[in-house]
Amino acid sequence: MSVNYIPRRFDIVRDNERCVQCGCCVRQCSNECHYFAEGGKIVLADASACVACHRCVDLCPTSALSIQKHVCDYRENANWAPQYQQEICRQAQTGGVLLSGMGTPKPYPIYWDKMLLNASQVTNPSIDPLREPMEIRTILGRKPRQLEVDAAGNPLGEMPPQIILETPIIFSAMSFGSISLNAQKSLAMAAKNLGTLFNTGEGGLHPDLSDYTDYAVVQVASGRFGVHKDYLENARMIEIKIGQGAKPGIGGHLPGEKVNVEVSNARMIPEGSDAISPAPHHDIYSIEDLRQLIWSLKQATQGKKPVSVKIAAVHNVAAIVSGCARAGADIIAIDGFRGGTGAAPTRIRDNVGIPIELALAAADARLRDEGIRSEVSLLAAGSFRCSADIVKAIALGADACYCASAPLIAMGCHMCQTCHTGKCNWGIATQRPELTKRLNPDIMHERVENLIHAWNHEIKEMMGGMGINSIDSLRGNRLMLRGIGLSEKELQILGIKHAGE
């Protein structure tokens, strides 16, 4: 027997007084942790492959199960933390690059938690969202420098294409392939009912989603998967994906095992082949090249679709955003390094890029310095955990926020961070039919809608407290934010004052 150098991470605890040996957990765990023993009389577990996804826990009819952290102490060492030793062992075994799913779990500063919101008292009344209209409608797209009117005040000329959203929350890119069609369909249905957008990622558009094209953002990424004229035309917005917050500077890799017939059709690649998107777009080596791609996409769609450029939040983000705006992007999405992913090299995910809060603040300030902020839309991405994070992002300067992990959690995701294995027990990050069928879009779209309705309501409540009844007046309103426990430099970059000032 080969030596396993890494202790297991979790213990599966079964309360035998409660367990009725129904076998549900055996069927539910795709990691095959639970099994029948003694000829099917009792159920036992081997926790070595357990990822703490809680599928078995949540479905056990008698609540007999719990997952606990497996305690196995190493000799204390502040430098050689167990994580590094375990990763070394894994690499010594496989010789490969470490892969992870979801956003970085490392305890980097989360600036949302270091910013506090304002509320009105006396000099300026707060507004009750239940009694007064509270507007969160958000309009994305390139805005002309000014309104042209004739002498009577009637507008002249044409407006570039605009997207009217009924919430500042949109769903970020998750491709069919990295997530299941059922998961994507749930998001598409929710986007339609909520009056917002979902994003197909770079996975092409599955024919089953043809009813939702008015709510679809289609991506053009370096692999160009599924990109053809109909794909571009069957969309509300086109997004050129330059980078992703979880893995700046590298491309994508969808393993061949996940490329079944359906995925291969949507992506227009052979079945079973690895879908590799190169690190750069091989036709974009400079900002002029980006400009050309933006204009070709606009030409291919008769200028009817706004074009967004999505970049990862990296050190020079402000200048890059400004370059994208000048290259003709109508919308610029910045993805912070805490953003999620279906699969990313762990080292990159945990060490490359910068937080969205700082990137957004810097980019918004830069566009204002150049006097062009009002002409483009700025989307923030990279981990919004609750409605307050969204309110803070808008106050920093975002037009709208891309959310992915939160709606996935609404559909059952438990942040087990093993999306890259393709064995998602919740039917989200998998293509296995026995798993994907666990996710019923007719139910899940409602859970996602409930979540966004709840967040919308909370956003309105916070706005009302500040005496603001339109999200337009929250956008970039940094006086509504105060830092708590931040250094001068951090406050300066965020463009906010410290609490008490």
Binding site: T123, N124, Q146, L147, I468, S470, S473, R478
Partner: protein, 366 residues
């Protein structure tokens, strides 16, 4: 303690205005009487007036009203002024010594035209040139503050109750076709004369009651276009918004007012297609210029008088008309005391800005 401009100070207040749309003259005593009635809405920490048509003999020249804290500030500022403008007249603004107003800065006024050569070299039109000069002095000449810079108009303000400020500046010796007045109730006591209202730039003057919650969104919007909000007041940012929309973007007064007080989406969605398109465009393009929170604003200019109120009507503003005159005030009683029998009295609604254009041709344009 930080001075106004170094810190944002919320305040409540009283406002009043009168216009004679045919250009008939109104004595300053009238507007003083109106604003004095609302004494309790101010707390003696700021009062002021703007008057249009008061300098007919200099009507083609810019009239600069300046506060000087020190002789050195005056010397430095004058050097700048004489270099950038051909100044015809430089004089102290006449004031009356009264007990209620103390610690006055040295208050001067200048009449002059831009130095053509410098203006051409700077490749700026006249309005832009004057605005940049005023911004320059106010931002970088310590102890000097230009608080009025229009043609044939002037702003008069001080720390004190408005009626005392009126007496101090001897406004009963001025006649104007348009007056605005302001009494302030700041929740802080900076005691700086420049912080009193109206706020004025070029021909614009603004008096305002309320505290806008969109302040920083509006400030960061307008600062994209070369403005610098040195005062950190609502009035300053609203003035710049109007100046930008009307002077740079050439929007008619009514459209500019629509930008600041755009109707709610629920209302827009119910409109006729053309109106809906107009407001949707306007809100999409000028989302950063939408003003939010409780406010009532009176904007004076050589084009006339505009009164706007917030969308939720959180601050009172009453309007009345009689003959050629229109009256506005935070309280109806402040109108009735100078116009006991108006023909029409109404409350200015958020959705319906009131614009009273001046109907005399020679005042149009710059």
């Amino acid at each position: 303690m930080l001075r106004e401009g170094e810190v944002r100070i919320p305040s409540g207040c009283a406002i009043a205005a009168i216009i004679d749309k045919k250009g008939g003259m109104i004595n300053g005593a009238e507007i003083i009487k109106s604003i004095a009635l609302m004494h309790d809405r101010s707390n003696g920490l700021g009062g002021g007036f703007a008057a249009y048509g008061i300098y007919p003999e200099h009507k083609d020249e810019y009239a600069f009203h300046i506060f000087y804290d020190t002789a050195a500030a005056k010397e430095a500022c004058e050097e700048f002024l004489f270099k950038h403008f051909n100044i015809d007249v430089a004089e102290r603004i006449p004031t009356r010594k009264i007990a209620a107003i103390s610690k006055s800065p040295d208050i001067w006024r200048y009449f002059g035209k831009p130095n053509r050569v410098r203006m051409k070299n700077a490749r700026l039109d006249e309005g832009e040139y004057v605005m940049q000069c005023v911004t320059k002095v106010n931002a970088s000449y310590e102890g000097a503050y230009i608080f009025s810079s229009g043609k044939n108009m002037g702003c008069f303000k001080a720390v004190g109750y408005p009626e005392d400020v009126g007496e101090f500046y001897m406004l009963d010796t001025y006649n104007a076709y348009l007056w605005t007045a302001h009494g302030r109730f700041p929740t802080n006591t900076p005691g700086w004369w420049g912080g009193a209202h109206p706020f004025s730039l070029l021909d614009w003057s603004i008096v305002h009651n309320g505290e806008i919650s969109s302040y920083d969104a509006n400030r960061r919007y307008i600062e994209q276009f070369g403005y610098k909000c040195t005062m950190q007041t609502d009035t300053e940012v609203i003035t710049y918004l109007f100046d930008h929309l009307m002077r740079h973007h050439g929007l008619p007064t009514k459209v500019a007012a629509d930008v600041l007080t755009a109707p709610e989406w629920t209302e827009i969605d119910r409109m006729e297609p053309e109106k809906r398109e107009y407001f949707t465009r306007l809100r999409a393009i000028y989302s950063g210029a939408l003003v939010n929170g409780p406010f009532s604003v009176i904007l004076g200019s050589n084009k006339g008088l505009l009164a706007i109120n917030d969308r939720l009507k959180l601050r009172s503003l009453t309007a009345a008309t009689k003959g050629n005159r229109a009256y506005f005030a935070s309280e109806e009683s402040a109108i009735r005391i100078i116009c006991p029998e108006p023909e029409k009295v109404w409350s200015v609604s958020g959705a319906d800005p009131v614009f009273v254009p001046l109907e005399i041709a020679q005042e149009e344009g710059e």
